[in-house]
């Protein structure tokens, strides 16, 4: 008797829908066991993690606010990863976008601002992110330098640059010498959408982008090109698609989205530039991209789910004294189970009788 794995030729829809649910169920079960081992009541813990964040309008707004940058970055990364271009530096592109948009807010601080300010900031952020992403793109296309290494190293460079700028040239002169920039004025911050929460226009923009990219990937020639280069590079070459131009394109797209997310965070939730601007959004987004199976709608749901686990984790610290590490373990387990269940979609497991040939 032998257990073999074979690639499926097609995947039944029912399985595609059930698979993520099974993964979530398995995660919840393991999480319950972990909570019990840590001495907490599993049911209360699970409800604190997953139900509390959704229990009222404020909570839902917070989920949206937390999910927005994650989904934005993940959508861009999904495009890259579909083409098998491994952009690991989204965190750096995020920071670069925040710096560029923040710079616009800083130099116009105190002088005439207007409704034109915010769009300029957002544009600056997106462009800055795209330019920063150009570096690993060009290093790959001109010199064949592996983009995993280059994009990762540049993350550290971006962090140190932000640190230098907010401690030096961009430090708020009235800020008691603390390493913060000026707090952005009202016109340089994102308008709120409703009272009783922090929901801002970043979220509807994010949803629009998700749909735009669904169209791009699913219905345009460019989308087809991206997917083809990833799945069948030789066929793509025969079809006349230039790999070089594509690598640069996808890097710039994901850089722009990451940079856009950066300026959204800086102008929306934090309203100033600080060294600790990002709690690792660029890296969390990589997970969101994979959880979302590298397609935009999937990234949306995955981003929302991951945002819930973060917020649930905070609530668990406050209400149950569960350590932050429990949240990390839960997220790791979630990713594991989703990957495992995904295998069920791609492969079929069969038991064979008798010895193999």
């Amino acid at each position: 008797m032998k257990l073999v794995m074979e690639r499926r030729t097609e995947t039944p829809i029912s399985l595609m829908l059930i698979s993520p649910l099974i993964a979530v169920a398995l995660t919840l079960i393991s999480a319950a066991i972990m909570f019990a081992l840590l001495g907490k009541d599993p049911v209360t813990a699970l409800s604190t993690y997953f139900l509390d964040p959704l229990s009222d309008s404020w909570g839902l707004q917070e989920v949206a606010v937390k999910a927005t940058p994650l989904v934005l970055i993940a959508v861009g990364l999904a495009v890259c990863y579909r083409a098998k271009v491994w952009n690991i530096g989204a965190e750096g592109q995020f920071l670069f976008g925040a710096m560029a948009g923040g710079y616009v807010a800083i130099i116009t601080h105190g002088s005439t601002q207007g409704p034109w300010l915010l769009p300029v900031m957002l544009l600056a952020g997106a462009m800055a992110g795209a330019c920063f992403a150009l570096i690993p793109a060009i290093l790959r296309t001109r010199f064949g330098a592996n983009e995993i290494l280059t994009s990762l190293m540049l993350v550290y460079v971006a962090e140190l640059l932000l640190d230098y700028l907010v401690r030096g040239p961009w430090r708020d002169p009235a800020g008691f010498n603390m390493p913060n920039s000026v707090v952005f004025e009202a016109e340089a911050t994102l308008p709120l959408l409703m009272a009783g929460g922090r929901l801002n226009i970043g979220t509807p923009i994010m949803i629009a982008i998700v749909f735009a990219f669904m169209l791009l990937m699913g219905r345009t020639l460019k989308g087809f090109e991206i997917r083809l280069v990833g799945e069948a590079p030789r066929a793509a070459r025969f079809a006349g698609f230039s790999e070089t131009r594509l690598i640069i394109t996808v890097f710039m797209i994901s850089g722009a989205l990451a940079g856009f997310a950066g300026v959204l965070e800086a102008a929306g939730t934090i309203k100033q530039l600080q060294p600790g601007l990002s709690p690792g959004y660029g890296f969390t987004a990589i997970i969101v991209a994979f959880l979302g199976r590298l397609n935009p709608i999937g990234c949306l749901f995955a981003g929302i789910f991951i945002a819930i686990t973060f917020i649930g984790g905070e609530n668990a610290q406050i209400m149950l004294r569960l350590p932050l590490d429990a949240t990390r373990v839960l997220q790791g387990l979630l990713l594991f189970f989703v990957l495992a269940c995904d295998s069920l979609l791609l492969y079929r497991f069969r038991l064979l009788r008798g010895a193999a040939a």
């Binding site: 010199f143 064949g144 290494l149 190293m153 997970i287 350590p323 429990a326 373990v329």
Partner: protein
């Protein structure tokens, strides 16, 4: 001891954990598997290592437990990636988060506990040779282990039959399978080796470098180790060059600050990363067409009977 000697010794200390983790990952990648979870395995090694060392009072046991912890975590990765043919990039990231979270849970009771670090081994007579003596013959056991690992891995990959098979699996797993080689078993062993090395590197941090436990004490060194494997074009001795280059740059920038070099400290701190990119580009230019790594790297293997 002159300043120069002192700097070299510090560089050796800084580079050793990078090298040990990198050489393990190098073997894994040569077998065709990309394990991005090095940071998770490293920090679990650090936590488990010091937890065991403090609880039992034995450093040796601590190191052993660290290696086993790294291997155990890598087994989870192997189950996903080999058993279920899951996406390796995602599985590696999951490993990194899981390892980080578990390490915090394991290490929590040991925060602030003091422990003597593992000392250096002194080889009598030889270590009295001026300059080279202390450098080569008075080091802690991990340094010797790292050199032994590099030489061992080099020999294994280039001179042994098993290494040849492993490389074949990494280059073309379908052909290797057709020839009858147990692709998944080879990859499993490679992944476990990588996990053990990462765990060992982690234990270096918590048992020698700074002998106590704090959250996140590996500080991203696992990611740097990944970069070093790429930088080394998957060759063992180049990995040594890469690890020492990065270690040297990190230490030299600190020395530059201490000596009063009037450049912003953040710029100096960024130098190791920038120079690593630069050197990689120069290497790629010199090779003209460059190493792309084992051809099956990252591709899931599903045997068709």
């Amino acid at each position: 001891m002159t300043l120069f000697e002192a700097i070299i010794l510090t560089i050796i200390t800084a580079s050793t954990p990078l090298l040990i983790a990198a050489i393990g990952e190098l073997v894994v990648e040569r077998a065709g598997v990309l394990n991005l979870g090095v940071e998770g395995m490293m920090i679990i090694g650090a936590a488990a290592g010091i937890a065991a060392a403090i609880t039992t009072g034995s450093s040796t046991l601590g190191v052993l437990v660290a290696v086993l912890a790294g291997m155990a975590l890598s087994l989870v990765f192997a189950a996903l990636v080999l058993g279920l043919a899951a996406n390796q990039v995602a599985a590696g990231l999951a490993l990194a988060i899981l390892g980080l979270g578990l390490s915090g849970v394991i290490g929590a009771p040991f925060v602030g506990v003091q422990r003597a670090g593992i000392g250096k081994i002194e080889i009598p007579l030889l270590s009295d040779i001026p300059f080279l003596g202390p450098l080569l013959f008075r080091q802690d056991p991990f340094v010797y282990a790292s050199v032994a690992l590099v030489i061992g891995v080099w020999w294994f990959l280039t001179k042994s039959r098993a290494g040849l098979v492993l490389r074949a699996v990494g280059e073309n797993h379908a052909a290797a399978h057709a020839l009858g080689y147990p692709v998944r078993r080879i990859r499993l062993l490679a992944i476990m080796f990588g996990g053990g090395c990462a765990g060992l590197a982690g234990s270096y941090m918590s048992l020698v470098y700074t002998p106590f436990w704090t959250s996140g004490m590996t500080g991203g060194r696992g990611w740097i180790a990944l970069a070093i494997v790429v930088f080394a074009s998957w060759l063992p001795f180049r990995a040594m060059v890469g690890a020492y280059l990065f270690g040297a740059l990190t230490i030299l920038q600190l020395h530059a600050q201490s000596a009063g070099v009037p450049l912003p400290s953040q710029f100096l701190a960024a130098l190791p990363y920038l120079i690593t990119i630069l050197v990689l580009v120069l290497i790629m230019r010199a090779r003209r067409g460059g190493a792309v790594g084992p051809a099956s790297l990252g591709v899931p293997f599903v045997p068709d009977r």
